[in-house]
């Protein structure tokens, strides 16, 4: 097992866009591609499979060139059959492989819910731990340009409800690489949800392989008046809101969940205890969403420190509209976070 030899970063490292001295900066896209290449290099049991992952676009660039380097036997195109191909990946995983199954959109995961929820998530338990499922599923949240109802869903909560799964949502290039490698190294099924709008983000990323374990969030920015707990693309809106709030004399702490299941309860609770105010900014819907879980956590474990009602910033309860006029209003921005924080003062 080459995976035990890789350094794990359990530091809850704060930096985002941290540009170390002389450290190379790469994009979120390239960080993912680098992680995939390194996993393929390190372990012959790793393979990638997904619809069109070997085509010139290479899943928005994240698999570009890999099929040329590693060959079609390790970077495999796939029929359009999400449930079946998830089953195929599970079958490979339970017999010793470490597949990475790649979807262009989160919206295609509902087709494979049976294999993910009923099979991948439960196989270890159902076999009394005798058979593990080291499966990584990557899927991308779409947004904008009329992607509309079936090409822009942010369904992390559906997976975060299911014991046996882990659900990761990297916001930064550093985390994209580390969480993806951590997921491939793990013996359990993990859903890694990326965001299309993050692919061009750049950050200093070490060249060597490293692992970030599930279950650890990070503080992106320290503050004292309000905790903004966010994940994925909403971390950026949260950071922007924090800058804005600073100008208006309010000090916001930004917590990046990174792992939405399991949550880093300790980190969230201690931040809320410190600031006494909680805003949760999620890329998805509200009802039974990640934002509900974080809010519930605060109500359970930090109630006495809450100085104001908890606030959630989520999508409106509607499918995504196609029209640009509606799409624009559909997505919450830093401005809503700012306004919300100011109301809480």
């Amino acid at each position: 097992m080459p995976w035990t030899k890789i350094q794990a970063d359990d530091s809850r490292r704060p930096g985002i866009f941290s540009s170390g001295q002389g450290v190379r900066e790469i994009s979120y896209r390239d960080a993912i591609r680098e992680a995939l290449g390194q996993a393929l290099d390190m372990d012959p049991d790793v393979f990638l499979i997904g619809e069109g992952i070997d085509d010139p676009g290479g899943v928005f660039g994240t698999t570009r060139g890999l099929s040329e380097v590693y060959g079609a036997e390790r970077v495999m195109d796939s029929p359009i059959a999400e449930n079946g191909m998830t089953g195929v990946a599970i079958g490979a995983a339970v017999t010793g492989m470490r597949p990475v199954l790649i979807h262009m959109r989160v919206d295609f995961l509902p087709l494979s819910m049976d294999q993910i929820i009923n099979h991948a998530a439960k196989w270890s338990y159902m076999t009394g731990g005798r058979v593990k499922v080291p499966l990584t599923i990557r899927a991308i949240i779409g947004r904008g340009w009329g992607s509309a109802a079936q090409h822009s869903q942010s369904l992390q909560a559906l997976f975060a409800h299911i014991p046996g799964l882990r659900v990761l949502m990297p916001a930064s290039p550093y985390d994209a690489k580390g969480l993806l490698l951590g997921s491939i190294a793990s013996d359990s099924p993990t859903v890694v949800i990326e965001h299309r709008w993050l692919y061009d983000q750049k950050e200093a990323v070490p060249e060597e392989a490293y692992i970030i374990h599930a279950g650890r969030g990070t503080i992106r920015r320290e503050g004292t008046d309000v905790s903004i707990v966010a994940s994925s693309y909403m971390v950026y809106e949260a950071l922007r809101a924090a800058s804005e709030l600073e100008k208006r004399g309010m000090s916001a702490e930004v917590v990046d969940l990174r792992s939405v299941f399991p949550l880093d309860e300790e980190l969230i609770v201690s931040s809320v205890r410190k600031t006494g105010r909680l805003i949760i900014a999620d890329t998805g819907w509200r009802s039974c969403g990640i934002s509900a879980e974080v809010a519930a956590l605060a109500a359970e474990k930090a109630l006495d420190s809450l100085k104001a009602p908890v606030k959630r910033i989520c999508l409106p309860p509607a499918p995504t509209p196609a029209s640009p006029a509606l799409e624009q209003a559909y997505y919450p921005t830093f401005q809503q976070i700012v306004a919300t924080a100011r109301e809480m003062q």
């Binding site: 676009g57 919206d107 309860p317 196609a322 029209s323 624009q328």
Partner: protein, 323 residues
């Protein structure tokens, strides 16, 4: 060859193909303005199928389609104004701006909706056929889908049920040999898609989808069978899309498909082939075609103009139509 079919029908077929082509050509030319803010999956090169199938359908018959549905909707009777307005995201679009190019609907013309989930429309069309059977209203349903959809479980689940119940539904597979940039041979063993019908106990027919007369004839038989209670049919029409999977550009330059393959299919342009044939058989003259081209062009001018002048949905209406 075309003589057994009357002139009106032949003209209608040609006119539909030309309308689809010219409408989509216009989308290509206007798209760079960045005012149609939604992904467009064009069917340029595949027009014969929409035309040859829908000519047999009544207004109240149902079609269901995919992300690549402009042609089907035009052929089934959707007006160019509501179609254009939908592409422009306006509140008087066929889906009131909520759907965009991938989710066109026009229930009054037998288009209950289209879905961009590959394979999704297949069982839904079967359900519409079940509904027609239960309501005894004599309608039939058509599902349009691509070669990629034949890999989805819903394809087989839909066919199994349609055949079991002998429902009045026709499965129209537009085999353009690609799903996004994946070639068919990377996704399916070498079996005609039409031959998957036998496993479900229904007839399957395949042939040249760029020959509108072939499409017309194959579909005619299927429609007659469906209306007579003879059950479903799977039709596989081989064709080719000229543009990339999505958007107005060709993907040949970017190495997605071999140039020679592309050129071979462009030589076999369905619209041009049929136009020439009609001229050769003196059904239409060059003048007729020119006049048709001009009048359709004017209709498209009007539709695009209408769309651009139309209002956007209000942000206050965000939660309308959810339930």
């Amino acid at each position: 060859m075309t003589g057994r079919i009357n002139k009106e029908t032949l003209t209608a077929l040609f006119r539909t193909m030309l309308r689809i082509r010219l409408f989509e050509d216009r989308v290509v030319s206007l798209y760079p303005d960045q005012e149609m803010k939604c992904p467009v999956h064009l069917c340029i090169g595949q027009e014969a199928i929409a035309a040859g199938v829908c000519i047999h359908l009544r207004k109240e018959d149902y079609i269901f389609s995919t992300h690549r549905s402009h042609g089907h909707c035009i052929a089934k009777g959707m007006g160019l104004r509501p179609l254009a307005a939908e592409l422009y995201g306006r509140s008087n679009g066929c889906s009131r701006g909520r759907g965009g190019s991938m989710h066109l609907a026009d229930p009054e013309n037998g288009i209950p909706g289209t879905t961009a989930i590959v394979g999704g429309c297949i069982p839904i069309a079967v359900g519409a056929a079940l509904s027609a059977r239960m309501k005894k209203n004599g309608r039939i349903a058509v599902a349009f889908f691509g070669d990629g959809a034949a890999e989805e479980g819903t394809f087989h689940e839909g066919l199994n049920y349609a055949s079991l119940r002998k429902l009045p539904v026709i499965f129209v597979c537009e085999n353009n040999f690609y799903a996004t940039n994946s070639p068919l041979k990377a996704r399916q063993p070498e079996v005609n898609i039409a031959d998957k019908a036998a496993g479900h106990g229904m007839p399957g027919v395949w042939g040249d989808g760029n020959d509108v007369m072939f499409v017309h004839d194959a579909c005619k038989e299927a429609v007659e069978r469906a209306r007579a209670g003879g059950g479903p049919t799977l039709l596989e029409f081989r064709t080719y899309r000229w543009k990339g999977h999505v958007g107005p550009d060709s993907d040949i330059e970017t190495g997605c498909r071999p140039a020679a393959e592309y050129e071979e299919w462009v030589r076999r342009c369905p619209v041009e082939m049929f136009g020439k044939r009609l001229m050769k058989e003196a059904v239409l003259s060059q003048g007729d075609i020119d006049r048709l081209t001009v009048s359709i062009g004017a209709e498209i001018d009007d539709a695009m103009e209408f769309a651009r002048r139309s209002p956007f949905p209000q942000q206050s209406e965000m939660l309308d139509h959810v339930y």
